[in-house]
Symmetry: C2
């Protein structure tokens, strides 16, 4: 997709790095729900063994981000994340202005 | 730091997920060099066992990003990365407009 578009950069530290099937299942469910939001572009996510993770989701517009942020099931999950799963997180909403890529 | 500021989102796939001391040493060196660039704000980086990684660096201005992009030792390392280390990557320059955070 050509810029401009939007990115939500979510950097987070899990409270423990144990396997947690419910966390993983919920993360998959959130990704599935996000895909259904008009204006969704894509998502990339990675977590290391220490429980530190970065997820970046991409959106066509700020309205699409607002629709996702306020999705009822997503709101419930956000509260669950603060209660049970995350030690800390930072969320940054950014407008993508330029891109470059490489493919060997 | 209060927005607006800038983020460079670098998502990448290593060619293999083997331990590679030279890669790790070079990544540390690049982070050290980046810190010396005026306008550097911070960096967050994570890679999983499959060799997929996301690094987000933060900058005060587009000029700071340009200075880092064109740093001679960094230019050499970029070429090395395309030749030896990366299967593919995407680089996105984005302007951070809003932030939120949580700390348990």
């Amino acid at each position: 997709m050509e810029p401009p578009y939007w990115a939500v950069i979510f950097t987070n530290q899990r409270r423990d790095d144990d396997q947690d099937e419910e966390y993983d299942r919920t993360a998959q469910r959130m990704e599935q729900l996000a895909r259904e939001v008009p204006g969704y572009v894509g998502i990339e996510s990675v977590r290391d063994g220490s429980g530190f993770g970065i997820t970046v989701s991409y959106w066509e517009s700020e309205d699409a981000i607002a629709a996702w942020r306020n999705h009822p099931e997503h709101l419930e999950t956000q509260a669950r994340g603060r209660r049970d799963w995350y030690e800390r997180y930072e969320l940054r909403v950014a407008r993508v202005e330029r891109t470059a890529s490489f493919d060997a």
